[in-house]
Symmetry: C2
Subunit: 239 residues, 2 copies
């Protein structure tokens, strides 16, 4: 995958969440995407052993299925915590705007507002001038898409984000989602265009109908997780 | 990770097994390492969707915790099935010798006999002239090592394989094991030298004592899996 970058993908088997740690091959500053609270000791171990300094922790959106590690990572490392500009989580120390390019020690990530799973979801494109990978959060999954039935999710917005924005990236762009439930670790934009069963060969109306008929149960941790995540996973007094 | 190679890591959550699919960026022939029987439809889906032709399926050793997909992949694709030269699995269509270099459409993998977890375990070094990655099976895990208490496992051999062979690879060589239970997906030789708690700062005698005192229960599927795997995961009449 992504070369000339120190790149680590971590898996939380409880929530099937993927978390990503990126650093410049030459530098020592690192950023992390979508950390899980219970796994923070693991990330800190890796950060220490790889001789990195965590400067930024980002959530792609307010997760409903696990508690974020943003607050604990900030407490442990004094990193900046960040979400997209439309988040309701007032605890984050910074918000990123649609189109803005984050630059951490040479790692360039362009923020892209991709609502649909939630109205405040962002994706992040690695090396926007010549896209190599995109971290899609829950809006685009491997051979699937994130549900659109809560937190102001909207299947029409999901289609527009995926087909209108993510699918404009080059076909060879690697796709790293925030979850996988079936044993995939990575995909590409071209693969998802051709083989995502909810999208390939479908019209927008067909996609919307599919998403409106999923009838999924609420995530087990939903009520706890959303409230906790609006406080970056820490008690409000400590956030 | 490994660039200029089509590389996919798959995870089987039942047995926490990692399976690897490799192909040349330019060509279409592929090989797979340590496939899991129940996941064969998933691999076949990926192989078809990535427009690959599977020509080789390799097991690093006779697994005791899951049933191999070698036989089913051979039935589906007519690929060569292969294990190391000391395997007792007569079903495989080829055996690889210690030091031999496999070449699949430009993907070069050097076989390295690394006994210890079992007496017939092999590791495979990607691009042996300038090692980029090593697939270590169960002998070297991330921050751990494979148990040495059955199938002619031997802690002294395990130490010699890891410290005497694998740790001679360059520090930056990526380590891809056949299992992980803690959410890691990859490591490097340098990290394991410095931070593997069973090895770093330990003598061979200390390592042997650690391994002799693990007192692990037998794998749940052990009796079924070993017998099945000696037949490549297929009934003997169909192997």
């Amino acid at each position: 995958m992504v070369s000339a970058v120190l790149f680590r993908q971590f898996f939380d088997s409880e929530s099937s969440t993927y978390t990503y740690l990126l650093a410049s091959g030459s530098g020592r500053e690192a950023l992390i995407l979508d950390p899980v609270k219970e796994r923070v000791p693991h990330y800190l171990q890796a950060i220490e052993q790889l001789h990195l300094k965590l400067v930024l922790a980002v959530d792609t959106h307010t997760h409903a299925d696990h508690i974020t590690g943003l607050g604990d990572l900030r407490a442990a490392t004094a990193c900046v915590t960040m979400m997209g500009q439309f988040t309701k989580a007032e605890c984050v120390s910074a918000q990123v705007r649609d189109g803005e390019v984050l630059n951490v020690d040479g790692i360039r990530l362009q923020a892209m507002h991709t609502p649909g799973h939630t109205d405040e979801s962002f994706s992040f494109v690695l090396d926007p001038a010549q896209p190599r990978a995109v971290f899609t959060g829950d809006v685009l999954l491997i051979r699937g898409t994130g549900r659109t039935d809560f937190q102001n999710g909207d299947p029409e917005q999901s289609w527009d984000s995926i087909v209108g924005k993510l699918f404009k990236l080059p076909d060879e762009t690697l796709v790293y989602p925030a979850h996988d439930y079936k044993g995939w670790t990575v995909s590409t934009i071209g693969e998802e265009k051709r083989y995502n069963p909810r999208l390939a060969g479908k019209t927008k109306a067909e996609y919307v109908a599919i998403m409106r008929n999923l009838k999924l149960p609420d995530p087990r941790l939903m009520d706890v997780a959303i409230q906790a995540n609006l406080a970056c996973g820490r008690p409000r007094t400590a956030a």
